[in-house]
Amino acid sequence: MQPKIDVEGVWWRYAEAEAWALRDLSLQIAPGDAVGIVGQAGAGKTTLCLALAGLIPQETEGEWRGRVQVCGLDTSTTPVRQLVQRVGLLLQNAECYLVGMSVLDELAFGLENLACPRDEMWRRIRWALDIVGLAGFEEKYPQALSGGQKQRVSLAAVLTLQPEVLVLDSPFANVDGAGRTEVSAAIRDLRGRLGTTMVIVEHSTEDLAPLVDRMILLDQGRLPHQAAPRRFFQSVELLTRNSVCVPQVTELGYCLSSGRCVKGELPISVETAERWVRERVDGCEPSSLTADAGWIDAKPTAPASFAPVICAQGLRYVYPDGTVGLEHVDLEIHPGDYVALVGPNGSGKTTLAKHFIGLIKPTDGCVRVKGRDTRTTPIKELVAQVGYVFQNPDRQLCTETVEEEIAFGLQNQGLPSGEIAERVERTLAQLGWARLQKDRICTLGLAERQCVAIASLLVTEPALLILDEPTCWLDGGQSRALMQLLDQVNERGKTIILITHNTRLVADHASRVVGLMEGRVMLDAPTRVALGCAAALNELLLSPPQVTRLAQRLAPLGFPPDLLTMNEMVKYIDGRVGSRGRSVV
């Protein structure tokens, strides 16, 4: 059978770039197959996506060698308009690609270009909106939607074209739990009903693995490793070196197996992990380790007796059009707290966070930052206490070099130049970035720019740091580095509010979870309690980390259902298995 996608000996180098983005890449994908692509930032994943759609080399300057055929069409010579009827392309970072003035116009644009009959257009648009869960959003202005909703609009716009091949770059980025379920269901539906061939680039391997037949690792434009997901994730060391975040249960299996001559495949899903762990603890008594003595990774919570950094009382916010954004929010955040602010797309997380820096003023109630009412305090004074890192760091970076960028906030505060220079140098030294001091911002990658944005706020020594989805575009290695940096910041006494959909991050780092739903706080608890409360998580459309789900499934064997992190699970299992001797494992 002729492959649906045939990549043969492809080399690609962008104009004015020295390095090849794709190097002698060869790949075949059969009709109806789904392939997942992972790799670190800059590996060539997005470049490959553009090549499959013909945008490289036809619409991009550079040097091209080799051949790509999709549906029998040569992508370097077939007109792009003809290709898009066969290949649907969803690019990452949806915000930059939405150009319509309404969701309806956005979805209709491609269909109009391809001369689709009107009735068929309406049918496909309704179908696509249903699939992504945005029915009723037809007249909304896409740029005003939340990040996850924009991602879904972009996906719907591609789905309306009903192509034979779908190339999706980061379809789950920024999407809440319900959205991920809907996107996954849509992908399965398309494969099942229409036999669509899929190429999916995604950092979230836990979402990706169940959807694909084969996984591919890209490394500096080359393809060093590909296999079915079960075999692919056995190469944990290779994947970790390439900044791929393997499924948590795979990492768990690897940690439990290391140095212990364990045979057998590592699990890649919670179901297979359950069987895997059962086989290994079968016959062991429940662990003699108690929670206090043993497996819990304690996350210190700030004493409530300290004056709060943030105090919201009866906070209500109504948008100018009358829509209620926040309703009766009462919240206190204490010094040293590490709070995860969670909730579905559009639940009010960013709206609430913007109140803390005074970008938005309450309609009713009040918000106090270190005792100062945000309604009457100028923003310039509030930012001395609160640092806010936006999702898109590029809007915050406005100078030429790293040094100038970090000094910028201090200049806005009117500090003397000597003190500014001293604080900048100290911050760079603390972060280990002294070598980057004179580097130009435009030469840095996204993760590095994100870190510069954070550093430029840290240098002002705010009491509170708010980060809005800081890891959504980062690969595994970059996310780990960023979260380690934030842990260090928190250990030095800074309060952190992390807006995220990633419950694994929440479990690993946050000490407290505040959950918003339709503008109301419906969960405010320590992380262990929050992630163990299935009812609340269901309401918030969240799923606990794989390790917690695994522990809950193993509860009949005596496993504590509130195990949060991989470290805790390893300690618990070690303690349990150790009761009948390590050699058994």
Binding site: E59, L145, F390
Partner: protein, 278 residues
């Protein structure tokens, strides 16, 4: 969620969207009589009213025309609070133009009140002329504002394609409106992000200019990036300017409201133009 008095759905996005900013040349989704009239009718009315405003220099025509346009704006149900900034900006610009006219025109009259060194002068007819000039240009500006506030850019595309305008021309006009909206959104997102870093617009004139320069550079680099990415998105959805047939999602429908608006406006316009030039 639609806005009752201003731009649609200005709920801030997660990445820092702005509130209440798309107030110039942008569609306002308010239920109004204008929604019952198809976009081509509105376009013809706008062109006719603008033509009358520029072609006819008669207070007995221009002043009632301005009143009718203002009444039309009021009937659209758009809150003046929303339009205030736009109207003030337009009035300001027109005022500057009018004052320039005052200084650099030479309207013949019986009495010259002021003679400028450069040869122009102010006579007893200058002020009425300038006032009428202001009224005419304000009429043309407001009727165009009325059009853009009540017509989606996709509806404008439908109207333009109905009159068989080449697709490239239709695309340029409508895409320009989209790009303006995107740029404004980007501008306000950048301003918000910079305010979150303590930037304000206090200080001396040179401080303010320096800060504005930073924002504009950021805006420029962001624009290039967005346009580049947007071009990929458009191409990936089959956009080729000079390609074959296209269809349209929205159909142009004619109703009795279109006839009720077009017939009197067209008749009056023809009559006035004939009276003026015939």
């Amino acid at each position: 969620m639609t806005c009752v008095g201003c731009s649609a759905n200005h709920r801030p996005s997660g990445a820092g969207g702005a509130t209440h900013v798309r107030s110039f040349l942008f569609y306002v989704p308010v239920e109004s009589p204008a929604r019952r009239v198809n976009p081509l009718t509105k376009l013809i009315v706008v062109l006719l009213v603008s033509t009358l405003a520029f072609a006819i220099e008669n207070p007995y025509v221009n002043v009632p025309l301005l009143i009718v346009v203002c009444v039309g704006l009021a009937l659209m149900g758009i809150s003046f609070k929303f339009l205030k900034l736009v109207v003030l900006m337009m009035s300001g610009l027109l005022l500057v133009t009018t004052l320039a006219q005052l200084s650099f025109s030479a309207i013949p009259g019986e009495v010259r009140y002021i003679t400028f060194p450069w040869g122009t002068y102010v006579s007893e007819r200058t002020l009425p002329y300038i006032l009428l000039f202001y009224v005419r240009f304000l009429t043309a500006s407001l009727v165009n504002l009325l059009f853009f506030c009540t017509t989606r850019e996709s509806e404008l595309m439908t109207a333009l394609r109905t009159v068989r305008l080449p697709y490239i021309a239709c695309f340029i006009v409508t895409f320009a409106l989209r790009v303006m909206a995107l740029l404004l959104d980007e501008w306000w997102a950048i301003v918000e992000a910079q305010r979150a870093r303590g930037m304000d617009f206090q200080g001396s004139v040179s401080d303010k200019l320096h800060k504005l320069e930073r924002l504009l550079v950021l805006m420029l680099s962001s624009t290039f990036r967005r346009v580049n990415m947007a071009s990929y998105a458009l191409l990936a959805r089959g956009l080729v300017i000079d390609a074959g047939p296209r269809t349209q999602l929205r159909a142009l429908a004619w109703s009795r409201y279109d006839v009720a608006v077009l017939v009197p406006v067209l008749s009056l316009s023809v009559a006035l133009l004939v009276a003026r030039y015939g």
